[in-house]
Symmetry: C2
Subunit: 234 residues, 2 copies
């Protein structure tokens, strides 16, 4: 049986051998939620970049730009890091370059994998179905918060592992713990995520509506996949 592992932070990803595997990057609040939403709403390409500088440069090269630092939109960019922004009509068929505090780093650190896809609660079942159909080993890569552990990404790792359990095996303590944490949150996912330190940081910026959307399950059936440095529809 193929294996599932869970990496709890980009600071630990060097401990994993990604070769031959599929990496599922998750940053529930809010980068991979935004990417799933954007691709579902017809954005042609989402390019994750590490720095504000790189992102700014792409503005003159046919890209809309999205930038967030510490939970807030950065001045001078088209949008920040709210999933609702990615629903705007003007982005349909167009390209967006994005830089965020955690999610973009997790993506760029996953590129040793055979394939890098983006997961969120929004496309949970679609991601699980795809992974089962491939039968390759999987590493679920949690973006965390500034390198540290975050609850909401671990919850996603837990529910994804739950969906894969029948067809995959795991000797990863992190996978088993993620499942335990998810089981404890079942039926009260929003309340649990609202208790997380990341949600508390975001609440200050008055974006409870974002958080509610970020924990909705199976809203979209798309999978963003990394091709030539950009996320496109699989």
């Amino acid at each position: 049986m193929p294996k599932v592992e869970v990496c709890l932070s980009p600071q630990l990803i060097h401990l994993f051998d990604l070769k031959g595997k599929i990496a599922v990057v998750v940053d529930i609040l809010r980068a991979t939620t935004c990417m799933t939403t954007g691709i579902a709403h017809g954005v042609a390409e989402i390019k994750p970049v590490a720095t504000l500088e790189e992102c700014r440069k792409l503005k003159g090269m046919g890209y809309f730009t999205a930038a967030e630092r510490d939970g807030q939109k950065v001045d001078g960019f088209d949008i920040g890091n709210s999933p609702f922004s990615y629903m705007e009509d003007k982005f349909k068929g167009n390209k967006v370059a994005t830089t965020t505090t955690n999610g973009t780093l997790a993506i760029t650190k996953s590129t040793d994998a055979d394939e890098v896809i983006v997961g969120s609660f929004l496309n949970l079942s679609t991601v699980a179905g795809y992974l089962k159909s491939q039968g390759k080993d999987v590493v679920i890569h949690c973006a965390g918060w500034k390198g540290n552990y975050s609850l909401e990404d671990t919850l996603f790792a837990g529910v994804l592992y739950e969906l894969l359990q029948q067809d995959f095996e795991s000797d990863s303590d992190a996978a088993h713990s993620a499942l335990t944490i998810y089981k404890a949150a079942k039926g009260k996912l929003l309340e649990t995520v609202l208790e997380s330190s990341h949600a508390k940081r975001l609440e200050k910026h008055n974006i409870i509506k974002d958080i509610e959307f970020c924990v909705k399950q199976d809203v979209y059936d798309v999978i963003p996949v990394l091709k030539n440095g950009s996320l496109v529809k699989k």
Copy 2:
């Protein structure tokens, strides 16, 4: 109220500001269990060192030597990493130098803290009582396995946080998750630890007796504390 944070791996400890805080290092299987046992049985000093080479050198300098790699005793050293070895009469009043896969690294990476103490299930309530009496901020530093997350150290972080909860606050997702994981394991701690990947590695070496001992709670009332690079009785 003072704060509790949980660091899930020595690879994440640079993300924590240890200054002014007490670091509680935990490596349940088996380094900090051994240290607690040794100090409780009258070992005068336990010196954690990073390499086999350093440990070997101390043999000629009045130290007994203990060395473990990948769960096994290393040839040429007096003992390995079994808590029962530390009960031997010959160590009483004497000094032991030790090098292990994970625990020693977590100790040497904690030295920015005001005080570094060693925790294990064996001295759990004594550690909790001491931390309450001090009222300082606390970082529970899990040694993990070769830099990665480990279940058994997280379980200890969870139960210690449970004991501190009335007197400490925490905005650490890792602390809350550790508590969730511990609560799920309550009443079946040994079974849960036996399911961990680390226990499975150790089982191969036929040391189930060690693992059973490592999860016993409140056997000793000592706290090993780091002074001048060595653990001594507080």
